[in-house]
C-alpha cells in the first residue's frame, strides 16, 4: 500500500509527502490512531488530506496509508432503520462497541455482518444479467422489499447461482462471467459517494410529492424528483418542517441527513419515528427511514461527506424503483464545512469566505435529484429537500442565493410568522413553486377539476389581505369599508384556519388532499356568499356573528380525515346560514322600504 509521511497539520487538514501512488479522493488511514481521511489534493509527491475525525495528538512524521478505494458507501440490506455518521459508520453499533462518546480511529462495517437475511434468488445458471437488473430479493422491513441490483458496471452470464435461503451480507450469491472476468455478487455493493449513480433517462416531473402539509401541497407543491429549499433564520421552524415532511410525505423511503445540527434533534427522530405510524401503510415510520447524523460537534469534514453518503443511499433505493425523499438539514452547515476546509487549505476565497466552487458543488448536489428511468427500465425518483440557514435570516447571503438557482421550489420561512407562532412559518408571499404548472393536470384529474382555479383565487385574496394589513397598521381595522373588512376576515380564515397547521395535533398533523380541497372550497364559498350580501348593504358584523365563522376556523381540528362527510354537512350549514341571513335581510330591507 502507498505510504506518505505527515509534515503539516492544521485542524482537520493534513499534508503528507513521499509517494505518487495515491489516487484523488482515495480513502486513507492517518497516523498511529488510524484516523479515517480522504485525499483531496495531489501535487508531485505531496498530498492533502481531509481527516474525518479529530486530529488532536496527531504528530508530524506519522504515516498516511492508502486503502486503494475511493470514499465509498456500502449499499445493501440493513441500511433501513439505521443511523450512520457522515462516513457511514453505524452509530448504534459504535455505541455498543465503544461507549457513549464517538471514538476516534475505529472502523465498523456499516451493514451487520453477522445477520442472516432470507434471500430469494431470481437468476439461475446460464441466465444473462445486465446492469441495474434485480437478481435477488429480501423483505428487509415490512414496508420495503430490498432488491439486489447488478452493479452499474457489471454484465455477463451467470455461471454459479446459490439457491434461495438465508445468507449474510458478504456471502456470494451469484458468480458472473464476462469474457475472462469472473465477478461475484454479494448482498452488498460499493459505490463512490461523490459520483452520481447512472440512470437510463430522466422523466419529466409530473407527480406531486404529497406531504399532507396544506401550505405546501395546495399552494407550493413539490414534484417527485424535484428539489426544494427551506430557508429560514433560527427559530423559524426549519427542523420541525423537515421532520413533518419526513413523517408524512408519500415517498417509499426517506433518507434524513442531520448535517451539523443539534444532537437532541436526532435523538427526537430516533425516539419518535419508531412510534409513529405511516398513514398509508399503518407501519412504523422507522421501517422506511435511513438516518445520517453528523451533529454540530462531530468532525467538520465528515459533515462535508455526510451529504454525499446520504444521496448515494437515496440513489441506490431509487435504482430499485422506489420514490425516495431526501431531507438535508442543513445544507448551510455543509457549505460552511466546505468554507472551513477551504480556509484551512489556504485557498482563495470568493464571497464571505466561501470557496469559488461552492456554486458548482451545490449544483452537483441538487442535480442528483430527479425522476428517472433506471438502468433496468423501472421508474424511481430522488426528491431533495434542503434546509438553508442564512446568517441573520438574510436571504441575500451566498448559500441561499446560489441554492435558489438550482431548486424550483422555495419555501421561505419567516421570522415574524414564527414570532407570532404561525407554523409552519412558510411565507405565502415570498415562497414559490415552479412545479405548479407541471402538476396542474395531476391535481385536476386526481382531486378536483377546480383545484387550480381555487388556488389562484385564494392566492389573490391573500395578496389583497396583505395590502389591507398595511393600511390597518396605520389606521386600524374599523375604518375600512365592509367589502375590505370581509377580505380581512377571509384572510384570517385562510391564515389561521388553513395555512396554520399544528404539527403536534393528532388530527391536524397530516391533512389529506381531499380535506385540503374541501376546506379551501368551503372558505371561498363563504367568501362569495358573504360578498353578495355585503354588496347589498349588509353589515359584516352580522356575518361574523353567526356560528359558522368559528366553525370554519376550527374545521382543521374538529373534523378528522376519516369523517370527511362532516365537511359536507358543514357546507350545508354554511349554505343554510346564508340563505336565512339573506331572507331575513331581504325582509328587513322590504320593511324599511
Amino acid at each position: 500500500m502507498s505510504k506518505a509521511s505527515i509534515f503539516w497539520i492544521n485542524g482537520p487538514v493534513v499534508k503528507a509527502r513521499g509517494s505518487r501512488d495515491f489516487m484523488m479522493n482515495e480513502m486513507v488511514r492517518v497516523g498511529n490512531s488510524r484516523l479515517i481521511g480522504e485525499v483531496v489534493d495531489l501535487d508531485q509527491d505531496t498530498l492533502t488530506i481531509q481527516v474525518y475525525e479529530g486530529t488532536r495528538g496527531l504528530q508530524t512524521e506519522e504515516l498516511v496509508e492508502g486503502t486503494g478505494r475511493l470514499l465509498s458507501a456500502y449499499l445493501g440490506p440493513g441500511l433501513i432503520g439505521g443511523v450512520f455518521d457522515g462516513i457511514e459508520r453505524p452509530l448504534d453499533r459504535l455505541a455498543q462497541a465503544y461507549g457513549d462518546y464517538v471514538t476516534r480511529g475505529v472502523e465498523l462495517f456499516p451493514l451487520e455482518e453477522g445477520r442472516k437475511w432470507r434471500v430469494e434468488v431470481l437468476k439461475r445458471e446460464g441466465d444473462s444479467v445486465s446492469p441495474g437488473e434485480v437478481y435477488a430479493r429480501i423483505q428487509e422491513t415490512s414496508m420495503i422489499e430490498h432488491r439486489l441490483l447488478v452493479p452499474p458496471q457489471v454484465k455477463g452470464e451467470v455461471v454459479e447461482a446459490r439457491p434461495n435461503g438465508e445468507y449474510r451480507v458478504s456471502d456470494n450469491i451469484l458468480l458472473i462471467r464476462n469474457g475472462e472476468q469472473e465477478i461475484p455478487l454479494r448482498l452488498y455493493q460499493e459505490w463512490p459517494v461523490r459520483l452520481p449513480r447512472p440512470i437510463k433517462n430522466r422523466i419529466p416531473p409530473s407527480l406531486p410529492l404529497i406531504t399532507g402539509q396544506r401550505v405546501i401541497d395546495f399552494f407550493f407543491p413539490l414534484a417527485k424528483g424535484g428539489a426544494a429549499a427551506i430557508p429560514g433564520g433560527f427559530g423559524t421552524g426549519k427542523t420541525v418542517t423537515q421532520h413533518q415532511l419526513a413523517k408524512w410525505s408519500d415517498a417509499d423511503l426517506i433518507v434524513y441527513i442531520g448535517c451539523g445540527e443539534r444532537g437532541n434533534e436526532m435523538t427526537q427522530v430516533l425516539e419518535e419515528f419508531p412510534q409513529l405510524v405511516d398513514p398509508r401503510t399503518g407501519k412504523a415510520l422507522m421501517e422506511r427511514t435511513v438516518l445520517v447524523a453528523n451533529t454540530s460537534n462531530m468532525p467538520v469534514s465528515a459533515r462535508e461527506a455526510s451529504i454525499y453518503t446520504g444521496i448515494t443511499i437515496a440513489e441506490y433505493f431509487r435504482d430499485m424503483g422506489y420514490h425516495v425523499a431526501l431531507m438535508a438539514d442543513s445544507t448551510s452547515r455543509w457549505a460552511e464545512a466546505l468554507r472551513e476546509l477551504s480556509g484551512r487549505m489556504e485557498e482563495m476565497p470568493a464571497e464571505e469566505g466561501f470557496p469559488a466552487y461552492l456554486t458548482s458543488r451545490l449544483s452537483e448536489f441538487y442535480e442528483r435529484a430527479g425522476r428517472a428511468e433506471t438502468l433496468a427500465g423501472k421508474e424511481g425518483s430522488v426528491t431533495i429537500i434542503g434546509a438553508v440557514s442564512p446568517p441573520g435570516g438574510d436571504f441575500s447571503e451566498p448559500v441561499t442565493q446560489h441554492t435558489r438557482e438550482f431548486v424550483r421550489c422555495f419555501w421561505a420561512l419567516d421570522r415574524n410568522l414564527a414570532y407570532s407562532r404561525h407554523y409552519p412559518s412558510v411565507n405565502w408571499l415570498t415562497s414559490y413553486s415552479e412545479f405548479v404548472e407541471d402538476l396542474a393536470d395531476w391535481f385536476e384529474n386526481e382531486v378536483d377539476t377546480s383545484w387550480n382555479q381555487l388556488r389562484t383565487e385564494a392566492m389573490a385574496l391573500l395578496n389583497e389581505d396583505d395590502r389591507l394589513q398595511q393600511v390597518i397598521k396605520l389606521v386600524g381595522e374599523d375604518v375600512l369599508p365592509d367589502e375590505q373588512r370581509l377580505v380581512v376576515e377571509v384572510g384570517r380564515l385562510l391564515k389561521t384556519g388553513f395555512l396554520q397547521q399544528n404539527s403536534f395535533s393528532l388530527t391536524d398533523s397530516f391533512c389529506s388532499l381531499q380535506k385540503q380541497f374541501q376546506m379551501i372550497d368551503l372558505i371561498l364559498y363563504f367568501y362569495r356568499r358573504a360578498r353578495e350580501l355585503i354588496s347589498l348593504g349588509m353589515a359584516i358584523s352580522e356575518i361574523k356573528r353567526g356560528a359558522v365563522y368559528p366553525k370554519l376556523l376550527r374545521m382543521k381540528e374538529d373534523i378528522p380525515a376519516a369523517q370527511l362527510e362532516e365537511l359536507g354537512k358543514l357546507r350545508e350549514e354554511v349554505e343554510k346560514f346564508f340563505d336565512e341571513l339573506a331572507q331575513r335581510y331581504g325582509e328587513g330591507v322590504r320593511h324599511a322600504g
Binding site: G11, L58, L91, V102, G263, M266, T267, V300, S389
Partner: protein
C-alpha cells in the same frame, strides 16, 4: 510520550509563538513556556515541518526569543477532577484560585471532551424550576437543554444568572449543582457574583470557573471547556443534575476572532472565523442527557448582542445551535422592570415535552400559549394606539392594554430576591388573564377557565 524541551523562540506575535527544530510534536499538545523559572501554559495550534505554532494561554508579554524554553508535555490540556470540586473556584485553565489547595484527583480529563454519540443521547423531558415567572411560565428550562440568554450591554443579565444560580432546583430533591463560568468578567461583576453566592450560602452547591477581564484573553479559549469538563464529570460520572452558566460568550468569541486574525485566516462574517459555528457547537453541544445515566447537563450561556443586534454573528450562530433563547429587552429595562425578559422573541424549544401533566401542571401548556397570544395581541394594539391614540381604541382593545401593563408589572416583574414556585407562577398567569373577557380566551379550555380563572 516523553517530555521534550527546546530552547529559543523563532517568532513572537500576539498570543502566538513559533518554535523551530521540533520533532514528534502532537497537534493540540500541551506546552510549557518557561522563562527565568516562570511557567506559562500553551497549546500547539499548527504544525509545519519542524515548526510548531503555540498559543500561550497566559499571554506573551515579557517573553524573549533567546531565553525562553519550550517543553512539550506529551498530553492534551487536562484537569484533575473529583467530587471535591464542588464549592471551589478555578481559573480558566482549571487551577484552583481559592487558597484551598489542589483538588484530590479521582480522574484526569481532556478539557475538550468528545462528542456524545447521538444514538446514546436521551431526549430531555423534565424541567428545572428557576423561580422566575417569565422563564418558568413562558420559556421553561428543561434538563439537558441549552437555553441562552441574549442580552445587551448595560442590561442586568448577570443579576439574572446569579438569581437563577441561587434559586434553581429540581423536583424530587435529587442532587443539583451549578457550574458558574465567568469569561472575561469585570472585577466588580465577579465580586458581586461571588459575594452574593457566599452570603446566601449558595456557594456550597456551586463550582466557579473564573477568567477575569484583565486575565490574558487567550485563556478564555479554554475557560468554557474547563467548566464543561467539570460539569460533564459531575453529571455523567457522579449522577448529578448540573446547570452550567457561561457568562459572557461574546468575550469568548472576541478572543476566537483575535487569535484567528493573528494566524492570518480568511474571515467569514464581521471578521469572525469561518469555523466559529463548529467551535461554538463544541461548547454548546456538550449539554444533554445520556441513556442509562442518571445525571443531566443543562446550559445557560449568556450572549451580549453587540449593538443589541440579534443578527450579529455571535447571537446568530448561537441561536442556530441552542434550543431556543431568552431575550432581554431594553424597553422593559427602561421601564424599571426586572428581569426585563421580552416574552415574544423568547422561546424554549424543548418546553412542550417537559411541562404539563406529570411535570408541572396540566393547564401549563394552554396557559402559556394563551398568555403568549394575548400579550402578542396587546403589542399589536399598542402599536396601533401609538398612531391613532389610546382614546380612539375600542373597549376590547383597551382591555388588552390593561392586560399588558399588568402582565409586565406583576408577572414578568419580580424582585431580585423573590423566588416563585411553579404553582405561584401559574396562578399568577391566570390572575393576569382575568383582565380579559372570557370570549377572548380561545387557547384555554372551558374546564380550565372554570377551575383556575378567578375574577
Amino acid at each position: 510520550m516523553p517530555v521534550r524541551e527546546y530552547l529559543g523562540l523563532s517568532r513572537i506575535y500576539g498570543p502566538l509563538v513559533v518554535v523551530k527544530g521540533v520533532e514528534k510534536v502532537g497537534y493540540e499538545e500541551l506546552v510549557e513556556v518557561v522563562l527565568r523559572g516562570e511557567k506559562r501554559l500553551g497549546q500547539v495550534v499548527f504544525l509545519e515541518e519542524d515548526q510548531a505554532v503555540i498559543q500561550v494561554f497566559e499571554g506573551t508579554a515579557g517573553l524573549t526569543q533567546a531565553d525562553a524554553r519550550v517543553r512539550f508535555l506529551g498530553r492534551p490540556v487536562e484537569i484533575s477532577l473529583s467530587q471535591e470540586v464542588i464549592g471551589r473556584v478555578f481559573d480558566g485553565l482549571g487551577r484552583p484560585i481559592d487558597q484551598e489547595g489542589e483538588v484530590i484527583e479521582d480522574v484526569r480529563r481532556d478539557v475538550y471532551g468528545e462528542a456524545i454519540n447521538p444514538y446514546t443521547r436521551e431526549y430531555p423531558r423534565n424541567f428545572i424550576q428557576t423561580g422566575i415567572s417569565a422563564i418558568d411560565g413562558m420559556a421553561t428550562l428543561i434538563r439537558g437543554q441549552k437555553l441562552p440568554i441574549f442580552s445587551g450591554a448595560g442590561l442586568p443579565h448577570n443579576r439574572l444568572v446569579v438569581q437563577i444560580t441561587r434559586q434553581a432546583k429540581i423536583a424530587g430533591g435529587e442532587k443539583f449543582v451549578v457550574v458558574f463560568c465567568g469569561i472575561g468578567l469585570k472585577h466588580d461583576e465577579a465580586e458581586f457574583i461571588q459575594s452574593s453566592f457566599e452570603e446566601t450560602g449558595a456557594m456550597k452547591n456551586v463550582v466557579m470557573v473564573l477568567n477575569l477581564a484583565d486575565d490574558p484573553s487567550v485563556e478564555r479559549i479554554t475557560t468554557p471547556q474547563v467548566a464543561l469538563t467539570i460539569a460533564e464529570y459531575l453529571a455523567f460520572d457522579q449522577d448529578m443534575h448540573v446547570l452550567a452558566i457561561l457568562t459572557d460568550m461574546t468575550n469568548y468569541c472576541e478572543t476566537l476572532r483575535e487569535i484567528s486574525n493573528y494566524r492570518g485566516e480568511v474571515p467569514a462574517r464581521k471578521g469572525y472565523p469561518g469555523y466559529m459555528y463548529s467551535d461554538l457547537a463544541s461548547i454548546y453541544e456538550r449539554t444533554g442527557m445520556i441513556k442509562g445515566r442518571k445525571g443531566s447537563l443543562t446550559q445557560i450561556p449568556v450572549v451580549t448582542m453587540p449593538n443589541d443586534d440579534i443578527t450579529h454573528p455571535i447571537p446568530d450562530l448561537t441561536g442556530y445551535i441552542t434550543e431556543g433563547q431568552i431575550v432581554l429587552g431594553r424597553e422593559l429595562h427602561r421601564q424599571g422592570i426586572y428581569p426585563p425578559i421580552s416574552i415574544l422573541p423568547s422561546l424554549s424549544r424543548l418546553m412542550k415535552d417537559g411541562i404539563g401533566e406529570g411535570f408541572t401542571r396540566p393547564d401549563h401548556p394552554n396557559l402559556a400559549s394563551q398568555l403568549f397570544a394575548s400579550y402578542g395581541q396587546a403589542q399589536n394594539v399598542r402599536s396601533l394606539a401609538s398612531i391613532i391614540g389610546e382614546e380612539e381604541l375600542s373597549e376590547a382593545d383597551r382591555n388588552y392594554l390593561d392586560f399588558a401593563r399588568k402582565f409586565e408589572s406583576q408577572f414578568i416583574n419580580q424582585d431580585f430576591s423573590e423566588e416563585r414556585s411553579m404553582e405561584e407562577t401559574l396562578n399568577l398567569g391566570w390572575a393576569m388573564l382575568a383582565q380579559l373577557p372570557p370570549s377572548e380566551l380561545n387557547r384555554v379550555t372551558r374546564e380550565e377557565i372554570n377551575q383556575f380563572l378567578q375574577r
